[in-house]
């Protein structure tokens, strides 16, 4: 019922030129419409994140068995990678995430990580350059090594020998795996949130990233 009526709404909106494109596509599921599997996934989710599902998590809940594995990976990113317990550390974790968000013009992910990136030591001019699509100036050695690794993987879909060697030498195998994980995870999330048209947490905020080309 919901599926058919949504398709009708979108079709009519497209036909009559209404701004349907701004609408969130995979939003919250009313409790009365949840399957048992979805209710269980929501309960399991809420054990870990006390406020329950929000934003893009509702999208995953359409296939409830993917929800908790994704939550476990996200928990790892937040609890381990964004901490001194990772090989690359918190600042570079946010930096890597911002790079993916810029690549996919993913407004929500960018907004969620920009402030913490700066708070954890990334210079505002580096963040600004990234937003503008420029190679950031005056990066530290660590920042530059990570930047080259991530940007090559994003743009060339592979990493040159020299860049790999520098990444391995500075951050070890664990650091290489961590940076690769962030590329994979945040590319997946960016894709998902772009499809779902996940709105900004503050619906009145201006989207931080401009689309290219300009």
């Amino acid at each position: 019922m919901k599926t058919v009526s949504f398709a009708v709404v979108v079709t009519l909106a497209v036909l009559f030129g209404a701004p349907a494109s701004a609408q969130e596509r995979l939003g919250p599921i009313p409790p009365g419409q949840m399957t048992e599997a979805q209710k269980q996934a929501v309960a399991d989710f809420t054990k870990v994140r006390k406020n329950g599902p929000f934003g893009f998590w509702w999208g995953y809940l359409r296939v409830p068995e993917v929800t908790i594995p994704f939550l476990e990976i996200q928990t790892y990113v937040h609890d381990v990678l964004e901490s001194p317990n990772s090989a690359i550390g918190e600042k570079l974790t946010h930096f890597a995430i911002l790079m993916v968000a810029r690549q996919w013009t993913q407004q929500v992910i960018w907004s969620l990580h920009e402030a913490n990136a700066i708070k954890s030591g990334l210079k505002p001019e580096i963040v600004g350059a990234l937003a503008a699509g420029r190679r950031p100036p005056s990066m530290s050695d660590d920042e530059e090594i990570l930047y080259d690794f991530c940007i090559e993987l994003q743009q060339n879909q592979s990493v040159s020998d020299g860049t790999y060697a520098r990444m391995l030498s500075r951050f070890g195998e664990k650091g290489v795996a961590e940076a690769t994980l962030l590329q994979g995870e945040y590319t997946l999330m960016s894709m998902f949130m772009n499809v779902a048209r996940t709105p900004l947490t503050d619906p009145k905020a201006k989207p931080p990233l401009s689309a290219f080309p300009r």
């Binding site: 476990e72 690769t180 994979g184």
Partner: protein, 220 residues
Amino acid sequence: MCRGVSGLVLMLVMAAVGMVHAQDAPPSNSQNRLPFVAEDRMTPALREALAEYQKVRPDGLAPGRSGGPSLWTVYSHLPDILTPLRQLHEQLHVNPRLSQKLIHFIILITGRHWTNDIWTAHDEDGIREGLSRETVKAIEEGRHPPQMPEDEEIIYAFCHELLTNKRVSDATYARALSKFGEEGVVQTTVTVGLYTYMSLAVNMAYPESAKPGRLKSFPQ
């Protein structure tokens, strides 16, 4: 069967660059920048994740068996990630919300986009599940496949827009929603994402000099 084919391809690659390995020897570094964590350096967390993996997929992509890098060899270095990643991949086999034909189709489109040799593990499976050889060949060559049935055409449009434009248009989304429902749309997006995840990890782990396989890079 298809994993055997991809294993054979990788072994041929290794032989071509002059590497010969005894059946049981761990693969050398030349074809894999980030080999599987050595036995004597395995943490309890890794052993536990591996044991779970073997329980569920005893015949599956045993880390390092084929000699080249895999998702599992890369993430053996982050054992906390192994189990959720395995569960996400399992979902595609156990209870996908799309036909197996379409799952293989999505994987082929995604593998082609990232020029990743996961491709060779899914082309024959896709054909066996109902894709035409012409369609698979067109994907390999970067062409829009001719004369697709409606379900393949919608999936192709959805995946192609997502990978190329980083968005899915209202019109394509509406068709996918109408044909496959919200769970089909989510399944499609998650599958593209998961195989992007895999492609990035595997591509990263190959050194510059290695040729990953049959799929040619663009432009040619």
